[in-house]
Structure formats: structure tokens, C-alpha cells
């Protein structure tokens, strides 16, 4: 047998040989077996962590004067003190204070604000912002820190943000790190870093928008969310939206009248194509899995744009680096 004959024989060997039996049932059984046991150490660790958190958690929070004369209850804060559940902290137009949020973060209370400590438990750190402005920074697993306002509740998903509420209960949330969910009973907004959401008492959060969103888009969103702008505001928002405004359209998709939903989806899909597995039909049916998949893609692209701002130019349609 010469070289050519030998090489030809090797070249004819099949690349694929079917297994003599179907191996999938055994593979599936192994995957399922592993999956069951996978949770045992995780669950045990979670229980231990919970016990540790409960035991180590203070029942009140430290509060420190930063400037002026903040007041806790009826007592002026000279240097530092404790904020107990039910206590309110007041700042006038020249005072500021810093609240330690248990062991998971801190909140700076800016001038002309009133904040009350509602809950100080390991599984629930809750303030109420009646009016004014706070800067919050929390480093913890999601949904441990909450701030109630007349317009709804800001739920921390691991983040930094500024939250403002005026005397009528209207305000704005500006997220500078991570992501915040703002909720009322009927409305929800997901606000990632570099985005804002207007809020209105008794209505809830508006559709979020990015920091550099075009003014006409912001006006259209406000008109739609709070002024019964309806189809006209929707069409304006769609017309001026850019790929980087996809997060606004993702919210709009879930808020518009069903007759406008296809219009919003098609515009969103033309700006940021949906990821594999998200179909038009599922998105129009507001299927939670489809919406979640779409949000994950939009969030990732947005996150890359924000993180790499000034370092690399990111394509707002795909999240890839522009060459």
C-alpha cells in the first residue's frame, strides 16, 4: 500500500459514527441527578448566611451629621447618633446627614429632606422619603434595600442612585450604578445605570430614558406616561428613538394599548434586534420569558456602552466594539 492509497483510506473514514444505543436517557438522568444535589450545599450556605446576618444586624442605624443641623425626631444631631425604626431625620436648606444602612450601604440625605426609618431587619432595610433628595449606595444582593416614596418604591438591585421627591410627591430617579426597580402596585420600571425615570404621586414611575436621551423623546414619554398622550405621544417617541433608547421602548411595549403594541415592537426590533429565542408573537403576547430575554440583551448592550464610555465606541444595536 503506497502513501496515496493509505491517505485515501484514512480520508474515507467516517467523521461520524452513531452510538450503538441512544445515550440521551443516561445523560439526562445524570444531569437531573446533579441538578437535585446541586442545591443542597447552596441551600445550606444560604441558611447559614441568613442566620449570620440576623445575628449580626444592628436594630438601629448610625447617622452622622455632614453639615448644618440635621434633626433626628426632635433632637438636633451634633455629631452622630442612632436612627431607630419609626424615627425621622430632617434636614433644612443648609444641612446634610449620612445614614449607615445596616451593614450593606449608606444614604446621604441632602438639604431640605425628610426621611423615616421604616424597617431595619436583615432581610429588609427600608426607608421612606417623604420629600427631598437622597444619594444611596448599596453593596448587597438584590432586594434588600427599599425606599418608599409617594410615587412608589425604589427597590435596590445592587446599585447607586439619587432619588428626589418634591412636596407633591413627584420626582425623579437617577441611577449611577447597577440597576434599580421602581414599583407601584400597577407599574414597574427597571432603571439601569446612566438612566433616569420620572415619578408621579399616585401614578408611579414613567418609562426610563438614558441620560443623553433627546428632549423630544423625554417629552413624549412624559406625555404618554402622565398626561394621557396615547397614540400620538407613542408615535412621537418611536419616531425620535435611537438604538440607545431601546430600554425606553422596551417599557413602552408593555404599557401601550394592545393596538399599538406591534408598532412599538417593530420599531424596537429595528433598533435592537431581539435575541435568538425571542419571537415577535411571544413579545406581542407580553410573554414574560420573551420580555426577560429581550431585556437581558438591551441591558447588556446598555451596560457595555456605559462602562466603556470614553474608552471604546460601542455599537448601540449590538453591543460590539465599533472598529
Amino acid at each position: 500500500m503506497n502513501d496515496k492509497e493509505f491517505n485515501d483510506a484514512v480520508g474515507r473514514l467516517p467523521k461520524s459514527i452513531e452510538p450503538p444505543r441512544d445515550l440521551w436517557p443516561d445523560i439526562e438522568a445524570r444531569l437531573n441527578r446533579r441538578r437535585r444535589w446541586y442545591w443542597v450545599p447552596l441551600a445550606a450556605a444560604a441558611v447559614l448566611a441568613g442566620v449570620w446576618l440576623v445575628r449580626s444586624q444592628p436594630v438601629s442605624w448610625d447617622v452622622t451629621r455632614l453639615s448644618g443641623r440635621p434633626v433626628v425626631g426632635t433632637t438636633a444631631l451634633t455629631a452622630s447618633g442612632r436612627l431607630r425604626v419609626g424615627d425621622s431625620l430632617w434636614t433644612d436648606d443648609s444641612s446634610r446627614a449620612l445614614i449607615a444602612v445596616g451593614k450593606i450601604g449608606r444614604v446621604e440625605v441632602l438639604p431640605d429632606s425628610r426621611v423615616q426609618l421604616v424597617a431595619a431587619r436583615a432581610d429588609e432595610h427600608r426607608l421612606a422619603l417623604a420629600r427631598g433628595t437622597i444619594d444611596a449606595k448599596v453593596d448587597a444582593v438584590p432586594r434588600l434595600f427599599f425606599v418608599d416614596t409617594p410615587a412608589g418604591t425604589a427597590i435596590d438591585l445592587g446599585c447607586a442612585y439619587t432619588l428626589h421627591t418634591d412636596s407633591l410627591g413627584n420626582g425623579v430617579l437617577h441611577v449611577t450604578g447597577g440597576e434599580v426597580e421602581f414599583q407601584t402596585g400597577s407599574r414597574m420600571a427597571r432603571v439601569p445605570l446612566g438612566a433616569l425615570a420620572q415619578t408621579r404621586a399616585a401614578v408611579g414611575p414613567g418609562s426610563p430614558y438614558v441620560e443623553d436621551a433627546p428632549e423630544p423623546l423625554i417629552r413624549a414619554l412624559v406625555a404618554f406616561d402622565f398626561e394621557k398622550g396615547g397614540a400620538r405621544a407613542t408615535r412621537t417617541a418611536l419616531a425620535v428613538a435611537r438604538p440607545q433608547d431601546a430600554l425606553s421602548l422596551w417599557h413602552l411595549l408593555q404599557r401601550v394599548d394592545p393596538t399599538l403594541r406591534a408598532l412599538v415592537y417593530d420599531r424596537l426590533a429595528s433598533l435592537v434586534p431581539p435575541p435568538p429565542g425571542v419571537t415577535r408573537a411571544a413579545a406581542l403576547a407580553l410573554d414574560s420569558r420573551a420580555l426577560e430575554g429581550y431585556w437581558t440583551k438591551i441591558y447588556r448592550i446598555h451596560f457595555r456602552r456605559m462602562i466603556l464610555k470614553g474608552v471604546k465606541e460601542i455599537d448601540p444595536r449590538t453591543g460590539t466594539t465599533v472598529r
Binding site: I17, P20, L31
Partner: protein, 174 residues
């Protein structure tokens, strides 16, 4: 029918049905590789299962920088070679004699007698020579890559390939 990219994306999201479809599409190539590298149908069964269990763990790390099939192939090679390194098994190879039907199921044509002889001869090669021959001549890896995967010097890989080809020719000419 779902596209390969779609299946991979769904499997990455934890969709076991999509993962089963990936298994259906790639089981033949993975099994062929395992069969030739181990030289045993029972080991090939086990290693093929190991590859797909490992794939379930690793699929999220697939970033699309190469074709999925190439990536999976490399994963399969690593699983088989790691298993061999771990257990240090050197069982007697009886691959094709054990199950000649494994090849009958997969081909036709006038050259099949020669191919079956060649498969049998490959199965009878010494471990080191067989691994290098399968990876270089059948799977198309280079000597540098093989040296790194198997944990030998590049020169050793070349020498094992020379040895394998010589032994195979002798067996086929008998």
C-alpha cells in the same frame, strides 16, 4: 427547525430540550472521536456521556469565537484525554472486534472492507500512537496542538505519528 445558533443560545439559557437537540446533532461526531481515542465501545459510551454532561456545565462559556462544532470537538478531546490521564487505564483494545456493527451502521460503498480493516488496525495501535494518529490524521489537529493536549513534546507527537502509520501499513498489508 431551530438554527444551531438558536439551539446553543437556548441551551445556554438552561433549556434542556434544546440541549437534547444539540446532543442529537453532534452525538455521532463525538462518539466517533471517543470510540477512536479509547478504542473501546464501552469506554466510548461512557466518554460520550461525560462529554455531554461536561458540555451542559460549560456551554455558557461558549462565546461564538469559533464554530460550535469545533469548540465541542476540542472539549471532547480534553474530556477523553483527561479521563485517561486521571485513571491511567490501559485496557486491552478490542474496539472493532467488539462491535463491527458500529461501522456497518455508518457507511456503504466498495471501500468499506478496507475502512473496516483500517478501523480495526487503529483500534489495535498502542495508546500513544493511536491518540496522535486519530488527532492528526483523522481530526486534523497540528503537532503543536496535539503536544499541548496530550502533554508530550512536539517531537514525540511526530515520532508517534510516524510509528502509527508504519504499524497501520504493516497491519493492512498482512
Amino acid at each position: 427547525m431551530a438554527s444551531p445558533d438558536d439551539l446553543v443560545a437556548r441551551a445556554q439559557a438552561g433549556d434542556q430540550k434544546a440541549f437534547r437537540e444539540l446532543y442529537r446533532q453532534h452525538a455521532g461526531r463525538v462518539y466517533a472521536l471517543c470510540l477512536r481515542l479509547t478504542g473501546s465501545t464501552s469506554d466510548a459510551d461512557e466518554r460520550t456521556q461525560d462529554v455531554f454532561v461536561r458540555l451542559w456545565d460549560k456551554v455558557k462559556s461558549f462565546r461564538g469565537e469559533s464554530a460550535f462544532s469545533s469548540w465541542l470537538h476540542r472539549l471532547a478531546v480534553n474530556v477523553v484525554l483527561n479521563e485517561r490521564r486521571t485513571t491511567g487505564r490501559r485496557e486491552q483494545r478490542v474496539m472493532i472486534a467488539e462491535d463491527p456493527a458500529a461501522l456497518e451502521r455508518n457507511r456503504g460503498g466498495s471501500t468499506e472492507g478496507l475502512s473496516i480493516d483500517l478501523e480495526r488496525a487503529i483500534g489495535e495501535l498502542p495508546d500513544g500512537a493511536r491518540e496522535v494518529f486519530v488527532l492528526y490524521d483523522i481530526e486534523g489537529y497540528g503537532h503543536a496542538e496535539i503536544a499541548s493536549m496530550v502533554g508530550i513534546a512536539e517531537g514525540t507527537s511526530k515520532a508517534q505519528l510516524f510509528r502509527a502509520r508504519k504499524l497501520l501499513r504493516e497491519k493492512l498489508e498482512r
